[in-house]
C-alpha cells in the first residue's frame, strides 16, 4: 500500500512561541479554547471572516458584474472602484460575485469530501473485515490515480457544465486522502477501552460511532474540512482557468481566465488579474493559520517536542519548561 503518501501530511508544528510561555497545561475544554485563542488563530479567523463577509454582503451593493460598457480597461477610480475589464465590466462587482461563487464551491466540495471520507474511512474501519478491505482498497486506488487529469477528462466530456456538476466531480475525486487519515484514526480508536466498554454494554453501532468515536475524530475532520476548502477553491480556479469550469459561473478562476483571455497582462491591467489571485492567497493563508492552531491544540506531541527542542540548544536557551 502507498503508505508513503500520507507522510508529508500536515503534522505541521507551526511556530508558536507564546503558547509555551503561557505554561499551564489544562486538559479541560475551556483550557483547550484558551490555547486555541493564539495570535495566529485570531489573525486567521479574522482574515477568513472578512472574506466571507465580503462574499455575502458585497454583491448586494456592487454593480451588475456582467453589464458591458464602453469604458474598457479603465484603471481603478471614479465610478469603478477596481477599474473595468476589457469590455467595461466592473471588476469590483465581479470580484464580489466571484468571492461568493468560489466560497460556495469550496464549502460544498469540502462538505462532500467530508461525508464521503467519513463513510469510507470511519465506517469501513469500524466494521472491519471484508468491508474495510474493500473500502480501503477503493480509497488507495483513488489516491494513486492522479486527480487533476482525471477531473479534466471527466469535465471535458460534458459540454454544458453546471456548478453542481463541478462540485460533484471535485468531491468524487478528492475524498481518498482524507478517508485514509480517518481510517487510521478510527482503527486506533475502536479498540480503546471506553469504546469496547460501550460495545459490551450493548450500545448500537451507530451510537458507538456517533457518541464514542466521532467526537474524538472531530479535530482531524475539521482540519481536513479546512484543507478541503482550500484545495477545492484552487482546483476550481485551475479548471476554470483552462476553460473547463462551470459554464457561465463567476468564480475567482473564471475571473482569472477572463483576464488571461482578455490580454490583461499585455495591457498592464493589473487591477483585473491581481485581485482574484490575492483573494485566493489570503483565504488560503487564513485557513492554514486556523489549521495550525487546531493542530497545536489536538496534537500534544507538537508541544512536547517543541520544548525539548528548545532545550537542545540554538539561540533560545530557555531550559526545560515541560514537566517530565
Amino acid at each position: 500500500m502507498p503508505e508513503t503518501l500520507a507522510v508529508t501530511s500536515n503534522t505541521a508544528d507551526g511556530v508558536n512561541e507564546q503558547d509555551a510561555a503561557s505554561g499551564g497545561r489544562s486538559t479541560t475544554t475551556s483550557g483547550a479554547w484558551q490555547r486555541l485563542l493564539t495570535a495566529k488563530f485570531v489573525t486567521g479567523t479574522t482574515m477568513v471572516l472578512l472574506i466571507v463577509m465580503f462574499g455575502i454582503v458585497a454583491p448586494f451593493f456592487s454593480q451588475n458584474p456582467r453589464k458591458i460598457d464602453n469604458v474598457g480597461l479603465t484603471p481603478p477610480g471614479g465610478g469603478h472602484l477596481l477599474g473595468t475589464t476589457q469590455i467595461g465590466q466592473d471588476v469590483f462587482a465581479q470580484l464580489a460575485y466571484s468571492t461568493r461563487g468560489s466560497l460556495i464551491v469550496g464549502v460544498a466540495v469540502a462538505a462532500l469530501i467530508l461525508a464521503l471520507s467519513a463513510l469510507f474511512g470511519i465506517l469501513g474501519a469500524y466494521i472491519g473485515g471484508t468491508t474495510d478491505e474493500g473500502f480501503s482498497l477503493l480509497s488507495n486506488v483513488m489516491l494513486v490515480i492522479p486527480g487533476l487529469p482525471l477531473v479534466i477528462v471527466i469535465a471535458s466530456y460534458v459540454q454544458q457544465k453546471s456548478v453542481l456538476l463541478v462540485i460533484l466531480v471535485l468531491g468524487l475525486t478528492g475524498w481518498a486522502a482524507s478517508a485514509r487519515v480517518l481510517r487510521a484514526q478510527t482503527l486506533s480508536l475502536r479498540n480503546r477501552d471506553y469504546v469496547l466498554a460501550s460495545r459490551v454494554a450493548g450500545e448500537r453501532s451507530w451510537r458507538v460511532i456517533c457518541v464514542e468515536i466521532l467526537p474524538n475524530l472531530l479535530p482531524v475532520m475539521s482540519s481536513g474540512f479546512v484543507f478541503g476548502i482550500v484545495g477545492a477553491i484552487l482546483a476550481e480556479a485551475g479548471l476554470s482557468f483552462i476553460g473547463i469550469g462551470a459554464s457561465g459561473s463567476l468564480t475567482w478562476g473564471t475571473m482569472l481566465a477572463g483576464a488571461s483571455d482578455g490580454q490583461a497582462l499585455l495591457f498592464g491591467a493589473w487591477w483585473w488579474f491581481a485581485p482574484p489571485g490575492l483573494m485566493i492567497a489570503l483565504l488560503g493563508t487564513g485557513l492554514s493559520l486556523i489549521n495550525f492552531s487546531i493542530d497545536e491544540v489536538i496534537n500534544p506531541k507538537l508541544r512536547t517536542y517543541r520544548v525539548r527542542a528548545i532545550r537542545r540548544g540554538g539561540p533560545h536557551r530557555k531550559g526545560s519548561v515541560e514537566p517530565a
Partner: protein
C-alpha cells in the same frame, strides 16, 4: 509476499484507471465519436477503419455488447493503438505524446530536482536553528503554498516579461531563429524560454519541501540518539547532517520520488500560461478540440507514470527505512 501484494495492488489500480478511461465516455451524455468524425471530416476523407477504431475507443456502436467493446478496447491498448489525434491530424496519438514528453521531462524534471534540493537544504537549517531568521521563512512558505501557481505565473509574466522585457512571453524556444536539435543556439534559446516557467514551479513548490523537512528535523532532534550524539561531544555539523538530517529526510525522499512521477503530468495549468510545448499543453489542446483519443492516451500515460513512481517508492522504501519493514 509483501512485494507480490504491492504488485497486485498496482495492477488493480492500473486496471481501475484503464476501466475509468473506458467507462467515462460511455457514462456521460455526449457522443464523442460523432464530434470527432465531424472534426476529422473537415480535414479530409475518413477511411472506414478510423470510424471503427474510434468506436472501439469510445463505444458508440450499440450493436456490440459492452463486454465485447471492453475486450476490444483492452486489445487496442495492449497493441499500442491509441487512435488518431484530431488536433495534430493525421498524427497518431502515440507520436504526439512522444513529441511532447521531452519538453515536460526536461522542464518539470529539472525544476523538481532543483526545488527539492534547495528546499531540503533550507528546511534542514530552519529545523536545526529553530527561532533564527531562517526559521522565520516558514510562515512565508504558507502564503506561497496557498497561491494559485498559475496566478503566480501571470504575475511573473507581467513583471518580468512585459514590464522588464527580460524573458519571452510564451513558447518553448525561438521558433523563428532556431530549429530543435543538439545545437548551442537551440539549447540557449530553450533555456531562455524555460526560465520563467521554471521559476514559477520552483517558487510554488519549494515551500512544501521546506516545511516538511523543517518539521521532520524538529521531531527528529528530540530523539534520544541525538542527545547521545551530543553527549559524546560530536561536532554539531556532524550531528546535523549525519544524525538528524539523514533520518529526517526519509519521508521527503519518498515524496520526492512520487513527485517525479507527477513530472509527466507536468504542471498542466502552468503550461497553459506559457504555451509550453509539453504534455500539459497537449492535454489542454486535446480538451479544447474535443480530441478525446489524445486526451485518453495522455491520461493513461500520466497515470502509468504516477503509478510506476508510487510502486518504486513502495518497493524501495523498506530498504531506505528498515523500520517500516517491521511495521507492515
Amino acid at each position: 509476499m509483501q512485494v507480490l501484494k504491492k504488485l497486485l495492488f498496482y495492477l488493480i489500480a492500473l486496471f481501475a484507471a484503464v476501466t475509468l478511461n473506458f467507462a467515462i465516455p460511455r457514462l456521460l451524455p455526449s457522443n464523442p465519436v460523432d464530434i470527432l468524425l465531424g472534426k476529422l471530416a473537415q480535414q479530409g476523407p475518413i477511411p472506414p477503419q478510423t470510424r471503427k477504431s474510434l468506436q472501439l475507443l469510445f463505444g458508440a456502436d450499440p450493436s456490440v455488447p459492452l463486454w465485447r467493446q471492453y475486450v476490444d478496447y483492452l486489445h487496442s491498448l495492449v497493441t499500442g493503438d491509441f487512435g488518431v489525434s484530431v488536433t495534430y491530424f493525421p498524427a497518431p496519438v502515440v507520436s504526439v505524446i512522444g513529441a511532447a514528453i521531452p519538453w515536460t521531462l526536461a522542464l518539470v524534471g529539472l525544476t523538481t530536482v532543483l526545488s527539492f534540493t534547495v528546499g531540503m537544504a533550507i528546511g534542514t537549517i530552519a529545523g536545526w536553528r529553530r527561532g533564527s531568521w531562517v526559521d522565520s521563512l516558514v510562515p512565508a512558505t504558507t502564503i506561497l503554498h496557498s497561491l494559485p501557481y498559475f496566478w503566480l505565473a501571470l504575475v511573473l509574466v507581467y513583471l518580468l516579461s512585459i514590464r522588464v522585457g527580460a524573458f519571452p512571453l510564451s513558447g518553448g524556444y525561438d521558433v523563428r531563429h532556431t530549429t530543435p536539435g543538439p545545437s548551442w543556439d537551440f539549447i540557449a534559446s530553450a533555456l531562455h524560454y524555460g526560465f520563467l516557467p521554471a521559476l514559477t514551479i520552483v517558487i510554488s513548490s519549494i515551500g512544501a519541501w521546506l516545511l516538511g523537512m523543517r518539521n521532520m528535523m524538529v521531531s527528529t532532534l528530540s530523539e534520544d540518539y541525538i542527545v547521545t550524539a551530543e553527549a559524546k561531544g560530536l561536532h554539531p555539523m556532524r550531528i546535523m547532517t549525519t544524525y538528524a538530517a539523514r533520518n529526517a529526510a526519509l519521508p521527503s525522499i519518498a515524496g520526492f520520488a512520487i513527485s517525479l512521477g507527477f513530472v509527466v503530468a507536468g504542471s498542466v495549468v502552468m503550461e497553459q500560461v506559457f504555451s509550453y510545448p509539453g504534455i500539459g499543453n497537449a492535454f489542454l489542446l486535446a480538451v479544447q478540440n474535443n480530441d478525446y483519443a489524445l486526451m485518453q492516451g495522455l491520461f493513461l500515460v500520466i497515470t502509468m507514470a504516477v503509478l510506476g513512481a508510487n510502486l518504486v517508492v513502495d518497493l524501495l522504501y523498506q530498504f531506505i527505512d528498515p523500520r517500516t519493514r517491521a511495521r507492515t
